[in-house]
């Protein structure tokens, strides 16, 4: 049992323990669950320290037969792509637990049990190297989130949670079909093996089949991302979810989709991915702009942040389908960034909710007067979210846009509008909530941060600065993994990849708007 197995197992054990604990022992439940989450985090840090760069292939690999026939393996392992997403999951879970300390007052043990189950599933998704196992974790994640929203959510929680479940379900069953189909071709679920067979031509997919398979996977992931126009479950789910649910949903769960795109869609179906990239990019850009514009006019803070996620994740998809090293690195980095900054936004919005019991922007005003520190942390988070340099999102957005520009300059032009708009909606919200004359109810209800809340928020703020100022802690591992993925897409014969773009991309192939350069086909 290596470290990675432990990281998956500890939350699972914690889940069972939390289920067993008698209902009355609330405090012990909380502490115990927190202990499990922290332990998981600490153990997961071992993954970072033990991670070696320059290794081609999986690390912390663990491969055991789970079911003999059809041969399904418990095959987990990480590369640079998974590493940070796993850390993100283990990092945020303790925060989610801590932030619910007061928020959740009924059915406590179930709540925490579900959080741990969620963590287990998330880590599993990012670590699974067997398609069946991947799908298992993928679906397992759905269940705790369904309950988290449905039981501890707000008024329209049932509508939201059912919508969330069904939306995702529709996508995932198609993915399941594609997975099974691949199995019937490859006679294995092992991802590496399937890739090898695809690469060597042992599985020869004709063009239509590859496209269909790609679309099946893509749809599942696109719903999860969520890519415009499949996003309408997200605002509902976010608004209705309890804070911890929103945080986990926005920060990690959405990344399952983008992770899937990078991990599976690109390497397995490079030709289809490349061929379908143009319209996917158009959707991504539409999502960036529409998401931002809709966020602009939201009267509800959580909904605003939710729509901003639609916009932000459009960047990620754009980066992925730019098929450039820069864009892909940026996309993956942006996944982490979004996890941190949007997670923090939901966290802070949750703090406001706990005070005022409202999420409507109009119910606030002048919060900065009574809760300066809360305002400052919120401001930093806001700034991170709108991509201020030296904070994390900037790095990701810059790389994504740079990558997009390399692929097709007009993509970057349109996508960059999102950057303008993000400032509009975030700052406008910030102004209305924190600035202005002190509203009466705010004066009576809103107080500054408690130590517990500090403890929740500060790690996120620290990460924002760290990731914004020293991306080299993270990007090299990501780059390596992405390079391998791009290598596959390049080998698929359609894409000419030159990692050192345009250094020699001399003089004649420039067309400012839309014509693209050497990298756009």
């Amino acid at each position: 049992m290596n470290l990675l197995d432990l990281v998956i197992a500890i939350p699972a054990i914690g889940f069972l323990v939390a289920l067993i604990i008698p209902r009355v022992m609330e405090k012990i439940t909380r502490l115990l669950v927190m202990g499990f989450a922290l332990l998981t985090f600490v153990v997961s840090l071992g993954l970072v320290s033990g991670f070696q760069s320059g290794v081609n292939g999986l690390q912390f690999e663990s491969n055991k037969i789970w079911i003999a026939n059809p041969e399904i393996h418990y095959h987990v392992g990480i590369d640079g792509l998974s590493l940070w997403l796993i850390i993100l999951s283990t990092f945020l879970t303790p925060i989610a637990i801590l932030l619910s300390w007061k928020y959740v007052q009924h059915r406590i043990k179930e709540f925490y049990a579900f959080l741990l189950l969620l963590e287990c599933g998330l880590v599993g998704v990012f670590a699974a190297y067997d398609l069946f196992l991947f799908y298992t974790f993928w679906e397992v994640v759905l269940v705790p989130m369904y309950f988290l929203i449905g039981i501890w959510g707000h008024d329209r929680r049932i509508y939201a949670t059912v919508k969330f479940f069904l939306y995702t379900m529709v996508g995932s069953v198609l993915m399941l079909a594609a997975i099974i189909f691949l199995y019937t071709q490859a006679h294995t679920f092992d991802y590496a093996e399937i890739l090898a067979q695809l690469g060597s031509g042992k599985i020869a997919l004709d063009h239509g089949t590859e496209t269909l398979l790609f679309l099946a996977f893509f749809l599942a992931f696109a719903i999860k991302v969520p890519l415009f126009p499949l996003h309408t479950w997200l605002p509902d789910a976010h608004v209705e979810a309890p804070t911890a649910g929103s945080v986990m949903l926005a920060s990690v769960m959405l990344k399952m989709g983008t992770y899937g795109l990078v991990r599976f869609c690109l390497p397995m179906f490079p030709i289809a991915a490349k061929e379908n990239a143009p319209w996917i990019v158009i959707l991504a850009i539409t999502g960036i702009i529409v998401g931002a514009l809709v966020a602009l006019v939201q009267p509800n803070m959580k909904k605003l942040v939710a729509y901003s996620s639609v916009s932000h994740l459009g960047f990620v998809v754009l980066g992925i389908f730019s098929f450039t090293q820069v864009g892909l690195d940026g996309a993956v980095y942006q996944m982490l960034n979004h996890g941190i900054s949007t997670g923090a936004l939901f966290l802070l919005v949750g703090f406001l909710y706990e005070r005022q019991h409202s999420l409507a922007i109009k119910d606030f005003g002048g919060v900065a007067t009574v809760a300066p520190w809360l305002s400052i942390l919120f401001l930093i988070t806001t700034l991170a979210s709108i991509g201020l340099p030296t904070l994390n999102n900037f790095v990701g957005e810059f790389l994504v846009l740079q990558g997009a520009a390399q692929a097709n300059f007009s993509w970057a032009v349109f996508a960059a509008f999102g950057v303008i708009l993000s400032a509009c909606y975030m700052l406008w919200m910030y102004q209305r909530v924190f600035f202005g004359a002190l509203a009466h109810s705010v004066k009576h209800h809103v107080t500054d941060l408690s130590p517990r809340e500090w403890a929740c928020a500060v790690p996120l703020i620290v990460m924002m600065v760290w990731m914004g100022m020293y991306s080299q802690s993270f990007i090299p591992a990501i780059s390596e993994a992405n390079a391998r993925i791009l290598d596959r897409t390049a080998k698929a014969g359609l894409i000419k990849m030159t990692p050192h773009v345009a250094v020699n991309a001399g003089t004649s192939n420039f067309a400012p708007a839309g014509g693209g350069n050497a990298h756009a086909r």
Binding site: R23, I67, A68, N69, P70, R107, E110, F132, Y135, T136, F137, W138, E139, V140, L142, V143, Y146, F147, G150, I151, R157, I158, T161, V162, F165, L166, M169, V170, V173, L174, L176, A177, I180, F181, Y183, T184
Partner: protein, 493 residues
């Protein structure tokens, strides 16, 4: 006649008796119950002793079935065949029998019904199913089917003063007999073409060249009517919702599982082996039937408010999934169907057990809304139901998921791509109404039904817990059952 040295003599050999052991044990036990009735039946209205005896009988029969499998082979002039396939299904229906008994204690007690006859009928019905699944002869199959069915007819109307029970029994009986007529006609045509009703001989006959396949196809069509009815596959599913809704809840649970499993066993045994030669003629029909069953079952279930009726529709949908496996016409498909039936049986029994738990005397609380707040009042019951619901939806780590996976895998292996896709999409639709159960249980405030709910009785508790464990085992470590199914599927040819 001389295979394995068994003569067609008047006196069956011990070996033959051993291969017939489960049916024998059940029949003896059933008779024993009736003999004992006068001794225990008086005084107490619904003594539990008969249930206990039944369980012992079922367990003995399971033991017998497993033992019989160690000496697998034909018996009674080749009318009976004990192989992995038969044993798998025998054990399955016997296990279902155990759960049916377990979930009946409370119900019968509550309704102050006679227990002796109930359990005797249950034993006989299962005996008939055991007979069906281990038959190697169409006429044996027919007799087994009738034993199973007639007992079920009676069970469906067991509470004879209950109007719903009456109607349920009448519908089941009339339509069942009607469909049996078709089945029988099919059998007769098969007999006409081949001159035999023994499955292996039919197989041999059909394998030869120059067979008038048209008539075989005709026979197959007629048998699909009969068997399709029994498995409640569209368009022969019409009876199922009414009957399941009207019958006593434990009987519904039983009917939705055991006879269905047995009928599917027959379906598989006959069609995948004997009629495989003319598979191209019936496969499209099964394809359509599968799709129709899934669609009708799932969509009609969307608007149901009665849990039993909803589960009935859901069972139609599940029959659709199973028909997908049949349409695959392969060993894998057979194994998939076998596995799925096991998973389906467990989750369905579990779900019905919860219905039995909450329905109250006279089944007055059978609406979905009656589950309101169960998650708060009885978290354990709710948790167990959650397991079943998740399995019915097809969430990984449950038997339902793995079964579904296996079925659609077989479909894709057989290039039924669109059927698989439509089926999977259907399962997403299904999620909607299953989720309603969870929504009501966990996200609504407790209602009248749950407020006054008594704690889980031991029998029902077992009938909930064991299937839940089973559902998990099938989802997490399906290897053993899968191996049995695969081995069983291999033996049918």
């Amino acid at each position: 006649m001389l295979a394995n040295g068994i003569s067609s003599s008047f006196v069956p050999s011990n070996l033959e008796m051993l291969r017939f052991a489960p049916e024998l044990i059940l029949s003896v036990a059933g008779t024993l119950l009736m003999v004992l009735d006068p001794f225990f039946g008086e005084g107490k209205k619904s003594p539990k002793i008969f249930g206990h005896i039944s369980i012992v009988a079922f367990l003995l029969a399971i033991f017998g079935a497993v033992e019989a499998n160690t000496v697998a082979g034909p018996a009674f002039s080749n009318l009976l065949i004990v192989d992995g396939f038969a044993t798998y299904f025998r054990v399955l229906v016997l296990v279902i029998g155990v759960f049916a008994v377990l979930s009946s204690y409370l119900y019968l007690d509550r309704e102050a019904a006679d227990t002796c006859e109930y359990h005797a009928l249950l034993l006989f019905s299962v005996a008939g199913q055991c007979l069906m699944v281990s038959s190697n002869d169409l006429i044996m199959i027919f007799i087994g089917l009738e034993i199973s069915s007639i007992a079920s007819y009676v069970l469906a109307g067991y509470l004879r003063n209950d109007r719903r029970n009456n109607e349920s029994a009448l519908k089941y009986f009339l339509l069942g007999s009607f469909a049996t007529g078709f089945l029988l006609y099919g059998v007769s045509i098969v007999y006409g073409v081949t001159g035999t009703t023994k499955l292996d001989e039919i197989r041999t006959f059909l394998a030869a060249p120059g067979v008038p396949t048209g008539y075989v196809a005709l026979a197959a069509a007629l048998m699909i009517v009969g068997l399709g009815f029994k498995v409640s596959g569209a368009p022969f599913q019409v009876w199922a919702p009414d009957v399941y809704q009207g019958a006593p809840a434990p009987v519904s649970a039983f009917m939705a599982t055991a006879p269905k499993a047995a009928a599917f066993a027959i379906f598989l045994r006959i069609f995948v082996t004997d009629f495989d030669k003319i598979g191209s003629s019936w496969e499209p029909l099964i394809w359509i039937s599968a799709l129709l069953s899934m669609t009708i079952g799932n969509f009609a279930a969307l608007t149901q408010t009665n849990i039993k009726r909803m589960l009935a529709y859901s069972s139609i949908a599940h029959a659709g999934y199973l028909l997908v496996a049949l349409a695959a016409r392969s060993e894998i498909g057979t194994a998939a169907a076998m596995f799925y039936l096991a998973a389906y049986a467990l989750m369905n029994i579990g779900a019905f057990a919860v219905v039995i738990h909450i329905c109250g005397k006279g089944e007055k609380n059978v609406l979905i809304s009656d589950l309101a707040g169960l998650g708060q009042k009885q978290p354990l019951t709710a948790g167990l139901l959650t397991v079943f619901v998740l399995s019915l939806i097809g969430v990984p780590l449950t038997g339902g998921f793995f079964g579904k996976f296996y079925i659609f895998r077989s479909a894709l292996e057989s290039h039924l791509v669109w059927l698989a896709i439509l089926g999977l999409l259907n399962s997403a639709v299904a999620a909607y109404y299953y989720l309603r159960l969870l929504v009501v249980m966990y996200m609504h405030e407790p209602g009248e039904a749950t407020e006054s709910l008594e704690p889980l009785s031991p029998g029902l508790g077992l009938a909930l817990a064991l299937p839940a464990v089973g559902t998990f085992v099938l989802g997490v470590a399906p290897g053993a059952v899968l191996a049995l199914a695969t081995a069983g599927a291999a033996l049918t040819k």
